[in-house]
Amino acid sequence: MQIKESPKMYDAIIVGSGAGGGMATKILADAGLKVAVVEAGPFFDPADPDQMTQLKWPWESPRRGAGTDRPFGDFDTAYGGWDLEGEPYTHKDGTKFDWFRSRMLGGRTNHWGRISLRFGPHDFKHKDIDGLGDNWPIGYEDVKPYYDKVDKLIGVFGTKEGLPNDPDGFFLPPPKPRLHELFYINGARKSNIPVYPSRLSMLTKRINNDRGVCFYCSQCSRACQVYADFSAESVLIFPAQKSGGQVDLYVNSMVREVTTNSEGKATGVSYINKEDRKEYQLKGKVVVLAASACSSARILLNSKSEQHPNGLGNSGNTVGKYLHDSTGSSRAGFIPGLMNRKTYNEDGVGGMHVYTPWWLDNKKLDFPRGYHIEVWGGMGMPNYGFGFNANDFNKFFDLPTGGYGNSLRADVQKYYGSVLGFGGRGESIALEDNYCEIDPTTVDEFGIPVLRFHYNWSDFERKQARHMQQTFEELIHNMGGIPLGDTPTKEEDYGLHAPGNIIHEVGTTRMGDDPKRSVVNKYQQLHDADNVFITDAGPFVSQADKNCTWTILALSWRASDYIVEQLKQQNI
C-alpha cells in the first residue's frame, strides 16, 4: 500500500475551512468531537505580522497595489484568484464560467464583502410564487433559530425594519452614512427607492472579550488583525481551538476523494500533501464537505467506487447540476455636487453603510426575482490606478483633457471623491443545464481530474440586468450626476457580468426530499451515504437576491447539530 494511512480515527473530517467548514469545526469541536480540518491552502492568521496587509500604505508594494498577482489588488487577502497555476478548469460548448478559488485557512471569508443578509420566507419557497425553479425542502422557520444564533456568535450590524422578505435579526448598530451615501439616499428617495442601513458582519460594538471592535479603516478585504470582521479562522476555528477543542488542522492538503467501504459508507478522505506531493488518507466516522460548491461537487464526482460507480452521491445524476451565481451589473456616475471636497477621514467600515434591498413587485416587470443595490464612493486611499485619466471629467465642462504640469494637481484634488458607483446583485433561476462536471481529458498538477463548466444565462437574467442599468442611470440623474460610459447594449447583455463573476456560486449538490432530483436531504446529508454531509453553498436550491454566506453559516450550524445528535444516537 503506497498511500499512507493515518492510524487516528476522527469523529469528523471537515474538508475546507471557509464559512461552511469553519462553522462545522466550531460546532463539532465544541460538542467534544475529534475533528480534522483539511485545507488546500496554507495556514493564515490576519494577526500574523508576516501575513498582514491591513494598514499598509500603497508604497509598501512595489506595484503600488496593482492586481497583477492578486486579482483584487496586491493588498487583498485571497491567496488565489480566477486562475490558479497548476489547477486548471475547462469549459464546454464555448460557454463561460469564471471560478474564483482562494487557497488559505478561512478561504474566501478573508476578503469577502461581509454583506450578511438572511434569506427571507419567499426565498425558500419561490416556486410557489412564480412557478420557476424549485422550492427548498425547508422554510425560513427552520433556519431562523440558526440565523439568530449566527448573529449573536459572529456579529452583524443592521437595523430592524420589519420588511416581509428581509428578516430582521440581532443587530449591532450601524455606522452613520458617509457623504456620498447621503447623496444616494436623497437621489433614491426621488424615485421612491427605499434605502436602509446596510447589514455587514463587522463589529461596530464589542460582542465578547476575544475580538476587537471595528476601528474604521475600510479594509475588511484585507482581513482584520483585531478580528473585528468575520473571517472563518479568526472567528470560528481559532476560538474552537482556544476553548480546548480537539481540532487538527491539515494545511496545504488537497483532498482528492472521499473513500468508501463495501457498504458504500464513507471511511475518510484521501489527500495530496502539497509539500511532499504524496498521497495520504485520513479516517473518520463522518465526512463534512465544505470545499465550496464546485470543489465539493468535484470531490464527489471523483469519488468513484464499486458502490458509487457514478461518483459519490450521484446516483440521481444531480451532482454539479443547477449551478448558479448571482446576477451582477455595475455602473458609476460622476456627481458634480461631490466635487471640491474638504478632506477628512471617511474610511468607515469596509463596504457600504447603506443599501437598497429588492423593492419592486415582479408582477409588473418582465423578469422574475429581484436584486439589491450596493453603493460605493468616497475619498478612498489611493492605490494603483488612482490618477489615471486624472482630468477626464474636464470633458463635461468643455475643458481640455490630458496635459501635464502642476495644473494636474488641482484637477486631481477637484475631482477626488466625486464618483459614486453601484453594483446590482440579483437572483438567477437555477437550471439543470448549467453545471460543472469532470473533464475526462484534463488533470491538475496533483493528478486529480478537473472540472469542466457549462453555463448560459437566460433572458430572465439579461432583462434583470437591463432593469439594473435603467435604475442606476435614473439614480445618477437624481443626484445631479452623469453616468460614466455608454449604456450597455443588448449585445453586451446589458452589462450582465459573466457567470461566476459575482463569486456566489451555489446549487451543485442541492437539497431535496427526492433522491432522484437532489443530492442531499434537508439536513445536508447525502441521500447515498448517510455519514457524508455538505455544508458549503452546494445544497442551496436557489440563491435569492441576497449573498450566500449568512445562510451557509446558519445551515452549517444546523447540519452540525444534526451530526452531533446522529452520532450520539449511533445512527451514523
Partner: protein
Amino acid sequence: MDRRKSIKSMILGGMAGGLALHGCKTKDEAEVEATSELQGYSYNYGRTPAEKERILELEADQFLNEHEMETVTVLCALILPANEHFGSAVDAGAPEFIEFMAKDQPEIQTSLRGGLMWLDHQSNVQFSKEFKSAEEAQQKQLLDTIAFYDPKIPLSRQSLEIQFFSLIRNLTLTGYYTSKIGIEDLGYKGNTPNVWDGVPQEVLDQHGVAYDEEWLAKCVDQSKRNVIAEWDDEGNLLT
C-alpha cells in the same frame, strides 16, 4: 502573544500528513526557511513565498536601459514638477515605479519603449538633440502635440504617441499619488485606527445635505462601542 503560540502548536501542516503528528514543522520554522533563501527581499506586506520570489525575480531584471530611464525621469518631472509645498513625481519615486511596472505588466513594454524612441526621433528631427537633452521649452513644445486627447474618441483609436503619453502620464500620477508625498499632497487622512462618527457639519453645509434625525437615532453610539452587546428576545439591543 499567548494566543498565537497556542494556536501554532496545534497546526499540523501538510508535512505531518496522517503519519507523524509530532516532528512536523511549525509555521515559524517553515517561514524562517523560506525567508532565509530570499536574500535581498526588502518588503513587508504579507506576501506568500511565491509572491516574494516573483518580486525578487522582477527586481533582478532591468527593462529600461540607462538612456531610457533618464528620459522617463525627465518626463516624470515635466508631468508633475515640484511646487512650493510638495516634491515632484521624481521625488516620489515614479521612474523606479514605472520600471517595475514595465516588468510586472509586460504588455505595456512596447508602447513605453516605442514612445520613448518616438520622442527622441521627433526631438532629433526638430532640435537635433535627444529629448532628454533638449531645452525645457523644446521638450514642452513637443509634449504639447501629444499631451491632449480627444475624449470623444476611444484612446485605442487615437495616435500611438497620444496613447503613449496617456500611459506615461497615468503611471506618473499613480506613482506620485500612491507615494508618501502624494498622499500628503492629496490630503487623504485615513488608513489609521479611528472612530467614524459621521460627516463634519461644515462639510454637510458645503454640499447642501443633512442627516435625518430618524436615521441617526438608529446608528451606533460610539461612547458605548466597548460595552458588550446584549439583546432582548426580540432582538432589541439593550446595551
